[in-house]
């Protein structure tokens, strides 16, 4: 079974790859037949192709991920982390900073790849911080 340390390193690698706008590196963290449910309650995206399309779109927004607390492991093959997504939103002719507060839960396969990701955030977890 994958170690706690390996899981936490993969979660951190996910944050880092997102923040350097590296879709290939994000997708490489996933297993071929992985599923993504982002947000929880929305239809599953299944397989590398659908997942790559999802991140290519998400990353275009200029979003950056910032851990809100240390990554948590488990006594099994899953880990979880709370983070803030910081992004720019068009607001009239200005740009507003916004934040979405998220918790991601990943499960891992034996090779150490994400077999599933579920992102917990709802409409009330999004906050516009003001125009700049």
């Amino acid at each position: 079974m994958i170690s706690q340390q390996q899981m936490k390193q993969a979660m951190q690698a996910y944050i880092d790859a997102f923040n350097r706008v590296d879709v290939d590196a994000i997708v490489a963290l996933y297993a071929d037949d992985a599923t993504v449910e982002d947000p929880v309650g929305s239809p599953l995206k299944s397989g590398r192709k659908a997942i790559a399309e999802f991140y290519a779109y998400a990353i275009k927004s200029g979003a950056r991920l910032k851990l809100a607390a240390p990554i948590r492991g488990s006594h099994g093959n899953s880990a979880a982390m709370a983070f803030d997504v910081e992004l720019n939103m068009p607001q009239g002719d200005k740009t507003a900073r916004a934040v979405i507060r998220v918790i991601d839960v990943m499960t891992f396969d034996d090779a150490g790849k994400f077999s599933s990701m579920r992102a917990f955030w709802g409409p009330s977890d999004m906050e516009v911080l003001g125009a700049s």
Copy 2:
């Protein structure tokens, strides 16, 4: 379906009931046939009786829960929160403060009760802060 606000209020009520050492109030937040997996990777505790025994034991440790970041909702019937469990551990003839870093994921039934709780924390999420 239960609203985002109702879910977050129930999560906060859980933290508050734990911190005032009120096992009955914690158990009242759960559905009759609810399951608890704490930590994730351990056997499920099923039903109110098993859940009440679990919390009666957990609460005896003098643990206190402190949110590490705002509670997250979802676009479905689940919510998640990152918190620190602060507790006293016997260490020789002294007591040491310790922290366990946890993320709880709850799913809700239509009545607004927890139908399941999963607590993500592993051995590496426990830290002894020093004797006092």
